[in-house]
């Protein structure tokens, strides 16, 4: 498919999937009529977004006397964007192919291809699971509920469902009755976002804290018990917001279990626990909902939350994705827009949010725009003292990988094909290497630019079974192929394992030094084992273990 055709198709897609819930489906009906009229206007909206980013970022550099890093070369860009979008480094053959072709729009094409690959769906279902169900990283009961939730996310990501529609469905999913908790408890793997509620124990206060933080960057949970010491949130505001979930009732609870769920759909008030005070459901901006008959409280909340008029909604999502790509948000911490956390580039944040909303919260559009910006394409290599402040984005930040990204990248480097295997939540007792890895390398909640390595992680990477087989001449596909292939020079072999692990060719001085090492055979006086030593060092290196 040619590029313009693909762009047109994208616009159509974009409109067809504009909304998937309820009354908004009507839009789809007019989509055909609109496509041709609208297409030219959208023809290079991605580049426009990229330009907006660069304009704001560069204006600040100029003002603050900052010299940015140069634009990353193809290899650096390929590795980085593959990890960010598809969750893994590219294979050697993908790398060779990409590095051969330096045509115009090459990088844009790559991003389009990554976004259409199943890896995008898996990587971002992991991403949104970390956002929406952080409990599943640490709580075994939440972990058991993850498959159905991730299946739900994957379905939407595969369809490129708009972000507002995903959140809308999440907030309004039925809890009681046939499609609710009962069916999920009987079929834990069935496609449903209901685990979002169960992992919050279906309590109004937990749901209030989670939804405001995740979807609006507002942390009001401290106001649950007392007026907030730093921010301006008051206890009544917290409970007023929680009151949108007040209709959810749990019955037959026993010993920590969740019991049965009933829902009084139009309940709009709750009593603050241990207080006499009854509060009415009130939006966080202080306005009272326009209640409509037969529209539930949760739906009334979701209408407001996902509306284009809610300034927090788009900003919070934009900042989160920005943080995913740059390691640091425009607002930091990524999900805390409160009090003292001022955005580093307020105008840019507003523009990105407005643009995201104007494009009907199209996640792929936002990703395309960010990835096309020169700011994203800066090298991580520091070339000037002025490149230290992370929120100036003058060079790409070095970022930690998640356990999934690390495992899949090792698998890609080593040539394992089964990296795609489904995660098996119930197999506690027979962990595959992937499960062990995910446990050992579960990311802490620190920012990816501040990822710390533990001694156990270091020991596992240096001496563990997984690295041992990755660097074993018998078990590693990549290494065996490189070591056994007859007509290659030592230099070619070194280059091949560099491409496999680091997605780049060795620099001349590296090539010279390592060719000598291979020719000498290293301590074992064996050229193949010397190659395995180099591969071991590459897989243990910061350059491999981080995205940069």
């Amino acid at each position: 498919m040619t590029h313009p055709a693909r762009a047109q198709c994208r616009v159509m897609n974009h409109l067809l999937h504009a909304r998937c819930h309820g009354f908004r489906l009507a839009l789809a009906a007019v989509a055909h009529v609109l496509v041709f009229a609208v297409a030219p206007l959208f023809s290079d909206d991605v580049q426009e977004l990229a330009d907006k980013i660069d304009r704001r970022i560069e204006a600040r550099w100029q003002k603050d006397g900052i010299t940015p890093a140069s634009i990353a070369d193809s290899a650096e860009f390929l590795r980085r964007v593959s990890l960010h979008v598809a969750g893994s480094i590219p294979t050697v053959s993908d790398a060779r192919q990409f590095l051969r072709n330096e045509s115009y729009n090459h990088r844009r094409q790559l991003v389009d291809e990554l976004l259409e690959s199943p890896h995008y769906i898996v990587n971002f279902s992991n991403f949104w699971t970390r956002v929406m169900m952080p409990e599943s990283a640490t709580d075994v009961q939440a972990l058991a509920q993850r498959p159905g939730f991730q299946a739900w996310l994957r379905q939407h990501l595969g369809n490129n469902t708009r972000y507002d529609a995903i959140v809308y469905e999440l907030l309004t999913t039925p809890l009681a009755g046939d499609r609710g908790m009962n069916s999920i408890m009987q079929n834990p793997g069935s496609v449903s976002p209901i685990a979002f509620f169960t992992t919050k124990q279906i309590k109004p206060e937990n749901l209030a804290a989670a939804t405001s933080r995740m979807f609006m960057g507002i942390r009001i949970e401290c106001a649950q018990c007392h007026n907030h010491p730093y921010d301006s949130w008051k206890q009544e505001q917290f409970w007023g917001y929680a009151a949108f979930f007040a209709g959810i009732e749990r019955t037959n609870q026993n010993d920590g279990g969740l019991g049965q769920v009933k829902e009084v759909f139009d309940r709009r008030e709750l009593t603050i626990p241990d207080h006499e005070t009854v509060v009415q459901a009130t939006y966080l901006d202080g306005t009272q909902p326009q209640w409509r008959s037969k529209v539930s409280s949760r739906r009334t909340l979701a209408d407001w939350m996902t509306s284009k008029q809610n300034p927090y909604f788009a900003k919070s999502a934009v900042n989160r994705l920005w943080g995913h790509f740059f390691g640091v948000g425009i607002v930091e911490p990524i999900d805390d827009f409160g009090g003292s956390n001022k955005p580093s580039h307020p105008e840019l944040l507003n523009e990105l949010a407005a643009d995201f909303a104007a494009h009907d919260f199209d996640l792929k559009y936002l990703i395309r725009g960010i990835a096309a910006s020169k700011t994203y394409q800066r090298s991580s290599r520091k070339t000037h003292v002025s490149q230290t402040e992370p929120q100036q984005f003058a060079r790409m930040a070095v970022q930690g990988l998640t356990g999934e990204q690390l495992f899949d990248s090792i698998a890609a480097a080593v040539g394992h094909l089964e990296s795609f295997q489904q995660f098996q939540p119930f197999q506690f007792n027979q962990p595959g290497p992937r499960t062990e890895f995910l446990e050992l390398f579960a990311p802490d909640n620190n920012s990816p630019t501040e990822r710390q390595t533990s001694i156990l992680q270091a020991l596992a990477l240096m001496n563990g079974q997984f690295t041992a087989s990755a660097t074993s001449l018998e078990q590693s596909s990549t290494l065996t192929a490189v070591a056994e292939f007859p007509s290659m020079s030592s230099g070619d072999r070194v280059e091949a394992i560099y491409l496999a692990a680091l997605t780049r060719r060795p620099r001349p001085e590296e090539l010279e030094r390592l060719t000598k090492y291979v020719d000498s055979g290293g301590p074992s006086k064996n050229q193949k084992q010397a190659l395995s030593d180099i591969f071991w060092a590459l897989l243990n290196s910061s350059e491999f273990l981080f995205n940069h």
Binding site: T138, D139, V140, R213, R219, E221, C222, Y230, D255, G256, E332, P333, D335, S340, N341, S380, R381, E389, Q391, V398, G400, F428, N429, Q430, P431, D444, N445, N446, S447, T449, E450, R451, Q452, T453, S454, I455, L456, A458, L459, A460, M462, N463, G464, T467, A468, R513, L514, Y517, G522, P523, S524, Q529, D533, W536, A537, L538, N540, S542, L545, F546
Partner: protein
């Protein structure tokens, strides 16, 4: 500029200043083991004996003889007149002068996951704050950056119901425990006969077929890559990678790692601890503390390692508890006397606790259920004036009658006992400072030496 980034920069300076790593391979070389044994200015250590699942106070340290809630066990006298404990803890009873049972723990959480988090971090799981577990919190304060052994070792932590309660939380992986005897998976764990192997550190030895010379060559290749990366892409990530690798290599090659080689111990002493995983793990704890490790925790999950949650005695309470106490008593008592013989008991705080107690009322399966309202923990050894009981419960054991102790009070007491200022702050992942214990916490002054 966020508060968090400022802290990171400070951490970064500290990391570079300790010079754990550099381009030169000589830095990888082993550092000689610290001199073993007590010195007058030695820092204090903590050994946490963690009773996974919640032990019954009424069958251990808060007996209710004569009441129907008292159950089947009899109380016995201890070395301290007036204090009685369970008949199945005879050896601990003889060392009561070192122990201070707290009979008035009063918490509000009866769910395993949440209570485990509460007792091990001092807080209920709450929004986005990842509170660190006790071991991370204390070892950060008590440990040294460049020690040969990790500052926090956890033996057999059964983490499945509440993994976050066992991790370093916002302090980061640098303060994560070194885990040995991981009980969460069958296969990595041993049965009773195989405890030596199960107490070994995973991945500590070189991969098969790689000798020391080749390992050095590999590390040297890695050193080149690292110095190149760190010079062009400086930052916390690369520095932390280097310091973790340096620490791992230091440990692999240190003399101190012999702490894990239990076969060197006197056979009679090993017998005294009990030839089972918990007993030998207590011996390991002593060997680690002796080599300066500031925090060791040992979990008692069951009497044989096929059991994981044996203290959770909803049914057949008395059979299970008796067999657990028969493992606990010799191990704990020998740990105290062994530390004392080596002059280490005064500088080592031992904490015995689980996530909650169990219902005084015995249920229809002769079991006891979850009970956070009024239960017991025990502090002994370093910094504790033993031989006294804190608090009192009602004659049926259903409520605290005197001196309720909260989790935060307990944390503050532990801080004091090892000479830490409980008002010390760490910056959390949400940017707010969190103290070791809340300012409102009241340390139990009467048992602090």
């Amino acid at each position: 500029m966020s508060r968090r980034s400022m802290i990171s920069r400070r951490d970064l300076l500290k990391l570079s200043a300790c010079g754990a790593f550099g381009a030169s391979m000589s830095r990888w070389l082993p550092v000689l083991a610290n001199e073993i044994g007590a010195s007058p200015d030695r820092r204090r250590s903590v050994i946490l004996l963690w009773m996974t699942g919640g032990p019954p106070q009424t069958d251990t340290f808060d007996m209710k003889p004569g009441h129907e809630n008292g159950g089947q066990f009899k109380p016995i006298d201890t070395s301290v007149p007036g204090i009685q404990i369970c008949e199945h803890l005879p050896r601990v009873a003889k060392l009561m002068q070192h122990c201070a049972p707290i009979r008035s723990m009063s918490t509000k959480e009866g769910d395993h996951t949440r209570a485990t988090y509460l007792l091990r971090t001092g807080n209920l799981p709450q929004g986005p704050i990842d509170y660190p577990t006790l071991g991370s919190l204390f070892s950060k304060e008590l440990g040294q950056e460049d020690s040969d052994l990790p500052n926090f070792v956890a033996v057999a932590p059964y983490t499945q119901f509440s993994p976050a309660a066992y991790g370093p939380g916002f302090l980061g992986p640098k303060f994560a425990p070194l885990i040995v005897g991981d009980p969460n998976r069958v296969g990595t764990n041993s049965n009773g006969a195989n405890y030596d192997q199960s107490l070994a550190v995973k991945n500590l030895s070189l991969p098969q077929g790689i000798n020391l010379e080749r390992a050095d060559a590999r590390l040297s290749l890695l050193g080149d890559l690292e110095s190149d990366f760190a010079s062009h892409r400086p930052g916390l990530n690369a520095d932390s990678h280097q310091s973790a690798y340096a620490a791992a290599v230091r440990m692999m090659r240190s003399e101190a790692v012999k702490a894990f080689h239990l076969e060197g111990e006197d056979a009679k002493l090993r017998d005294a601890y009990g030839r089972n995983q918990f007993g030998q793990a207590c011996l390991l704890a002593r060997r680690l503390v002796e080599r300066g490790v500031p925090f060791v925790e040992v979990s008692l999950n069951g009497v044989n390692n096929n059991q994981a949650f044996a203290w959770d005695t909803h049914a057949q309470n008395f059979n299970s508890v008796k067999s657990l106490l028969e493992v606990l008593d010799p191990a704990w008592a020998t740990l105290m006397s062994d530390l004392k013989d080596r002059g280490l008991l005064d500088s080592t705080l031992i904490v015995w606790m689980g996530e909650f107690g169990r219902t005084p009322k015995i249920n229809q399966q002769t079991g006891r259920d979850h009970f956070p309202n009024a239960w017991s923990t025990v502090l002994c050894g370093g910094g504790i004036k033993g031989g006294q009981v804190v608090g009192k419960t009602s004659s049926d054991g259903m409520k605290v009658d005197d001196r309720p102790v909260s989790v935060q009070d307990l944390f503050a007491t532990m801080c004091k006992a090892v000479g830490l200022d409980s008002m010390k702050q760490n910056v959390s992942n949400v940017g707010r400072p969190i103290r070791l214990a809340e300012p409102t916490a009241k340390p139990i002054a009467e048992i602090l030496g």
